[in-house]
């Protein structure tokens, strides 16, 4: 990893009120590096630094091409942010990583998606297995209309979990920083929680299936700044064990919470492509492309 220039440090925990008031220039948090002072992920020899790799991905919805020829590597136990204007295919790209797009009848994919070297679209691979290992948190909190306990237990149950379910539910809720708030009411409906709590419940639900990668599709766009901050802190915490890919419209969020940033936009035919990628700090402070600079400085998008 390259040496980064000193920047103003505002670790999420110390942010005064959890939100950036409009007009304040983007401040870069270095917390992600602070928690891993010396860690190019590739230093671990036992496993490769790349988990999910996209090679030459193009996507179509019917006749409409949503993504053109995108290749990228997702680094293990890092937070990768996908940013870009609305409709540039960020979510579509994210959904190729756990085969969620297949649920859309007209969807078609070209290219290769590998997870730890295995082609997840391979003939022998069942999407059900892929989705257990590559979990997903959605834009709008979507707990099941069941109790908090049953929400977290759903994934383990459908996947034939044989261990101590009570213990797994508690551990997942603790991991999602929700346990203390709900431990006395796990039998109450998940929908009785606040928006931010619901989203942490959805994260707990995802963790409970013991995935390796967590995909987050604008997880904070329906949340207030305080809840957003909690989710970001949680992401930082989770990235010690999990690989996280997050789609976000909120550039401050990408700047605060991610290690690597990928900037996408769309061509004249509205097909999305990658403009630039790199360490988050560099993308936001010293982008190579003019388009990136315009976007991260708020001049378009």
């Amino acid at each position: 990893m390259e040496k980064e220039p000193p920047v103003t440090l505002t670790s999420p925990t110390r942010a005064p009120n959890g939100s950036q008031s409009p007009g304040v220039p983007i401040r870069i948090t270095a917390s992600s590096d602070a928690r891993r002072p010396s860690a190019p992920a590739s230093s671990d020899a036992s496993e490769s630094a790349t988990t999910i790799r996209l090679e030459g991905i193009s996507c179509w919805y019917g006749g409409f091409r949503a993504i053109r020829d995108v290749s990228l590597d997702v680094e293990r136990r890092r937070i990768t942010a996908l940013i870009g204007p609305s409709g540039c295919g960020k979510s579509t790209l994210l959904r190729t990583m756990n085969r969620m797009n297949e649920l859309v009848p007209s969807f078609r994919l070209e290219g290769r998606v590998t997870f730890d070297g295995t082609d997840i679209y391979g003939r022998a691979v069942d999407p059900v297995v892929v989705r257990r290992r590559v979990g997903m948190v959605f834009q709008k909190p979507n707990p099941f209309p069941k109790s908090i306990y049953d929400n977290v237990a759903f994934g383990p149950r459908v996947n034939g979990f044989k261990g101590n379910l009570d213990e797994l539910v508690e551990r997942s809720l603790r991991r999602a920083a929700l346990w203390d708030e709900v431990k006395d009411k796990v039998r109450e409906s998940g929908l009785s929680l606040s928006g931010g709590q619901q989203q942490r419940l959805c994260i707990a639900r995802t963790i409970a299936t013991e995935p390796e990668v967590i995909l987050m599709d604008e997880p904070c766009s329906a949340l207030d700044p305080r809840a957003t901050l909690q989710i970001e802190e949680l992401m930082a915490e989770l990235s010690r064990d999990y690989t996280i890919v997050i789609v976000t419209h909120n550039m401050q969020q990408a700047a605060r919470a991610s290690d690597t940033t990928i900037f996408m936009t769309m061509a004249d035919d509205r097909a999305g492509y990658i403009v630039e990628r790199g360490p988050t700090l560099r993308i936001f402070t010293n982008p190579e492309q003019r388009l990136t600079e315009d976007y991260v400085s708020g001049r378009f998008g």
Binding site: M100, P105, F138, F144, G155, S189
Partner: protein, 298 residues
């Protein structure tokens, strides 16, 4: 003035508050009128029935069989027939109807054949009930040789209400947000697990509403049962597969057609029994629905 209008244009907004409020008041008035007309009809109907029927409604009426002597007449065979038919119809239509709806909504591809299927089911819901009676006569009574038994009647009524139930269940399934399905898929659930664990529980209250409406229709239906051989004068409790049978609406039909005023009062009493049965059934379903939808809110 100048503050409201852009330079060089006339006044761009005419608030006209009075007229907008008046329109709202008129609309509200029309709605109240509609509700009032309905309530009035209901009250007059109930009053007419109860005032004539209640004096006849006693233990003798509930436990007796029809008789030429009005003071000894009762509705027990018809009441039991109706309950038996209701149970049978529920047992037949619930699994078939819900399964068909799940297939059409969750599994079937959106192709021409399936769209045709859906349209046809919607059309079936509009076919006159007498036609189902003719069909039931040909298929169940004669074709399958079931004869004029209660089971043939139940099968005929099941066919009659299946389209209604399927359509209502499909609507309920469709109303479950896509996010609910995706959440389950993203946790590694198979399609059946998604349907079973996420979609069905969320759709259950809506499906139940469909069942209530369909059952109410089946219980009140007369015409097709006359065709498939329900008889009007039954003094014994029906054996579902062997004997003749009658149901409340047919008993009512018979008594109401009798010119003697005492028999018409018997009809009013039988209507009261049918109404109470409906209210009990609906109340039960509402209770179950309330239990099922405790957790639901989006």
């Amino acid at each position: 003035m100048a503050a409201d209008a852009a330079p060089g244009t006339a006044v761009r907004f005419e608030p006209n508050l009075m007229r907008r409020k008046l329109a709202g008041t008129i609309f509200l008035g029309l709605c109240l009128l509609a509700v009032g007309a309905l309530l009035l009809t209901l009250v007059v109907l109930l009053w007419d029935i109860l005032s004539r029927g209640l004096p006849w409604l006693d233990a003798q009426f509930l436990t007796g069989a029809p008789s030429r002597r009005t003071e000894r007449a009762g509705v027990l065979p018809a009441l039991v027939g109706t309950i038996e038919i209701a149970v049978l119809v529920a047992l037949i239509t619930f699994p078939v109807g819900v399964a068909a709806a799940i297939y059409l909504e969750e599994y079937a591809k959106d192709n021409r054949l399936n769209r045709l299927l859906r349209t046809n089911i919607a059309n079936l819901a509009g076919v006159p009930s007498i036609v189902y009676g003719i069909f039931g006569l040909a298929l169940f009574v004669r074709g399958l040789g079931l004869g004029s038994t209660l089971i043939a009647g139940a099968l005929t009524l099941s066919l009659l209400i299946l389209p209604v139930l399927i359509i209502a269940s499909m609507e309920a399934l469709r109303a479950v947000p896509r996010a609910q399905r995706e959440a389950a898929f993203a946790l590694g659930a198979s399609r059946w697990q998604v349907v079973r664990g996420s979609v069905l529980p969320a759709a259950a209250p809506g499906i139940l509403t469909g069942i209530i409406l369909a059952m109410a229709r089946a219980i009140g239906e007369t015409a097709p049962l006359i065709l498939v051989g329900a008889v009007t004068f039954v003094t014994f409790l029906p054996n579902p597969v062997a004997s003749g049978y009658t149901v409340l609406p047919i008993q009512i039909f018979q008594w109401a057609g009798d010119p003697r005023s005492d028999f018409q009062s018997l009809a009013a009493a039988a209507i009261t029994v049918l109404l109470v049965l409906m209210v009990v059934l609906n109340g039960l379903a509402i209770l179950i629905r309330a239990r099922l939808s405790r957790h639901l809110a989006w």
